[in-house]
Amino acid sequence: MLENFSFRTIGEYLPLFGQGLVTTVWLSVVSFAGALLVGIVLCALNLQRSRPLRAPAKAYIDIIRSTPLLVQLYFLYFGLPRLGIILPEFVVGVLALSLNSGAYVAEIVRAGILSIPRGQVEAAIASGMTYRQRMRLVILPQAFKVTIPPLLSQAIVLVKDSALLSLISVAELTRAGQLLASDRFMPAEGFLTVAAFYLLLYYCLKGVAALSGRWLGLRPARGRA
């Protein structure tokens, strides 16, 4: 497959890859915003003291985490119409990715909040702040810093997961490769190009992570033997 690897054909398909890349990026951005929203709401529920609020959030997170995205996607795409809700594929895809990633985001944010030293919370309580003021002024700004790196890892996962949307006819990056593979019977060209584009996105996100780490003044590694 490699000996007559055809860069020329890849060139021919480049516009298609370009469109796919744009769709993937756009899709990921919107889905990740959705995931943050879902995650924060879930996490807020999960940190409540009242059980009736906490339990459903916990159950949701567990179910999402223990079933494959494919199954969740299938359910949204073919299940919603049974309830009379027909949404465009792009919307269903974004919804599925947001709902799925949201569960992971919720866990990340929760870990971030719980990592804030107890003394910080006590200092805020002692100065007469209400629960919401403590959250807004003291806990969340500090938790934000801790959650940025794992959130970016989750973003990387989401970008790659978005490939699954080719299943329900969203024309994203992976699909461009599949087209090249099945129209021209050039699988190596198709899939390696796709991989290169994903790798590009990965390094972009990693760059953002490194920058934000420096900007937030995260301390470097320690404790090596």
Binding site: M1, Y77, F78, P81, R82, I86, E89, S166, L167, I168, S169, A171, R175, Q178, L179, A181, S182, D183, R184, F185, M186, P187, A188
Partner: protein
């Protein structure tokens, strides 16, 4: 060919999701029209057969990388594809057909020409090209994951109608209650189906073409197609 005989085994790549050409029956055995033909081939060669089943994405790499000797699926030999693999002579002709929901507002294939009609097709399949040609104004949605997904999409209302290989549609729609789908009688196109091998195996290609001639003459091909493709007899047995 020599290698196959030496090995004593014919390695055939088949697609999982394609009744009636290839399917897993209720006993978990692989069978179907193409599969049975391949078995016949192995029998004529006097070797064992080994099926490698792949998703559509894996079929072509399997053949190109030499993991499989030949590729047996409902594949249309387009000229672009033939640049890469060697197709046999067509062993049957089929065509893409349009289907809609049984009680839908689309009565004929021409109704689908209305701008904005949502048409479900399979990614990379010939149906996709035919649909684009026949319904330039329509909104073509290409799915991955096999024919049943198209039926589901149309049944659930995500698409107004679907375009796929006629025998596939006929084969798969019977799993639904009668009347769920209307299948338009007229075909969008007439398409050959063929098996494929690599160009570096010219002797195998010659042999396969000869095999197809033989089974056509002695009726075994017709028998196969009648059982699997042109009727629904197989449903009873599998």
């Amino acid at each position: 060919l020599d290698d196959i005989v030496k090995r004593g085994e014919l390695r055939v790549a088949v697609q999982t999701q394609g009744p009636p050409f290839s399917l897993i029956d209720s006993k978990g055995e692989r069978t179907g029209s193409s599969v049975e033909l391949a078995k016949l081939m192995a029998q004529e060669m006097g070797v064992k057969i080994n099926f490698l089943d792949f998703d559509w994405d894996g079929l072509i790499p399997a053949l190109l990388s030499g993991k499989a000797d030949l590729l047996v699926a409902d594949m249309t030999p387009t000229l672009a594809r033939a640049m890469k693999v060697a197709f046999t002579n067509p062993y049957m002709y089929t065509g893409s057909t349009v289907f809609t929901k049984g009680d839908g507002k689309f009565k004929t294939a021409d109704d689908c020409k209305a701008p904005g009609t949502k048409i479900a097709v399979l990614l990379g399949a010939t149906g996709e090209k035919e649909a684009k040609k026949a319904f330039p104004e329509a909104d073509i949605k290409s799915y991955k994951g096999g024919g049943p997904l198209l039926l589901d999409a149309v049944n659930n209302g995500q698409a107004d109608c679907g375009v796929n290989d006629v025998s596939a549609v006929k084969g798969q729609s019977t799993a639904y209650p009668a009347g769920t789908f209307t299948i338009m009688p007229d075909l969008l196109s007439k398409e050959p189906l063929a098996f494929a091998t690599r160009y570096d195996e010219p002797d195998l290609l010659i042999w396969m073409n000869l095999f197809l001639d033989q089974v056509t003459i002695d009726g075994r091909l017709e028998q196969n197609l009648n059982y699997w493709v042109n009727s629904e007899d197989w449903k009873k047995d599998h």
